[in-house]
Symmetry: C2
Subunit: 208 residues, 2 copies
């Protein structure tokens, strides 16, 4: 069966739904109505029903949603049953914080490679991964089936490191450097930058 | 003159344009065509022209865009001529990294308050700001005209700390905790979460 295309906003919410649903199952819950889920998830019932309606017909009227089915469905949509290998480029500051954050929050992803350009960091082991020189990105990643990278190097180095990542077969990049990078069309880039989000927040506060 | 509403994607790009344009001015540039700007900004000329077209008529055919006028206009749109005070709640890990990041990258914003719940951190000075107990959010922020907060506490505490921030008069929150928070309609919340962006990236990689 062809699955419908999910809106970006729904997709963004799924990982956080998943995290919360897993906790609820550990706490012994099996079935919850959208109203109950709303309390736990911090999202309005109408929005939950709308998001879940893309999955097909799940909820049972008067009984609610089966949490196990929801978890299995979300894992399936996000393709988390295969483990995604991740390369991190730039681990000195925000990159390292993100390694921590990811480790505790994200099933389905495993950081397998780390790169930096600082001589003090190269050769060190950070959360079980040996840090390699950014110069070795292509040779290290060759044939390793790593498709996703976090780019957390300083803005001035972002372009050249991103190009190495793409040459090494990376197909998707989360760019934490505060600069845009023009990459081939077929590479997916997600920009994640605090100044952008602050700018947007302030714009909405002053234009409402 | 009534200004048009800018699309979210354009607004998100403006802070990064601003950062790059300021650097170009320091390097002695005054006027650049959209093609030249494209090289520096890492954004396609068509997208730049579209983004800048919302400002009104700026570029001069055959000459290009006046960088000083662009900077002044972007600062004006993002309301950066007034300085925005920011409160950070949760400074132990990702919050602290973000303090650093912000300090170096973001004119127009100043971190004036920091809160945490860890006894080891309360009373310490982090980047010139004394860390206060999250219990004191309301009393500390009262009458201080702080409208924006970064929420970087652990997920389990996010709801109660967010409620304190809203009671203290905060109107916009960047939520770095990996959990949704249901707040009154009039509070703007921007969710900034790595697992959400990773989920979205992987979804697009597998559904194209």
């Amino acid at each position: 069966m062809e699955r419908p295309k999910f809106p970006d906003e729904t997709i963004r919410r799924l990982p956080l739904y998943l995290r919360c649903l897993n906790r609820l199952i550990i706490l012994g819950k099996d079935t919850l109505t959208s109203k109950e889920l709303s309390e736990f998830l911090g999202v309005k019932p109408t929005k939950i029903r709308k998001d879940f309606s893309y999955f097909g017909d799940f909820g049972t009227r008067g009984v609610g949603y089966n949490l196990h089915e929801l978890v299995s469905e979300i894992r399936n949509i996000l393709q988390l049953d295969e483990e995604w290998k991740i390369a991190v480029a730039g681990i000195s500051n925000i990159g390292c914080t993100i390694l921590d954050h990811l480790e505790f929050n994200q099933p389905g992803f495993q950081i397998t490679h780390a790169f930096d350009q600082s001589p003090e960091l190269i050769g060190e082991t950070v959360r079980g991964v040996t840090v390699r020189d950014v110069e070795e990105i292509e040779s290290e990643l060759e044939g390793k089936n790593v498709k996703v990278a976090l780019l957390a190097v300083p803005a001035i180095d972002a372009k050249s490191v991103a190009n190495s990542l793409v040459s090494a077969g990376i197909e998707g990049i989360i760019n934490l450097a505060p600069i845009f990078i023009n990459l081939p069309e077929e590479v997916e880039v997600v920009q994640m930058d605090l100044s952008s989000e602050l700018g947007r927040l302030v714009y909405h506060l002053t234009n409402r």
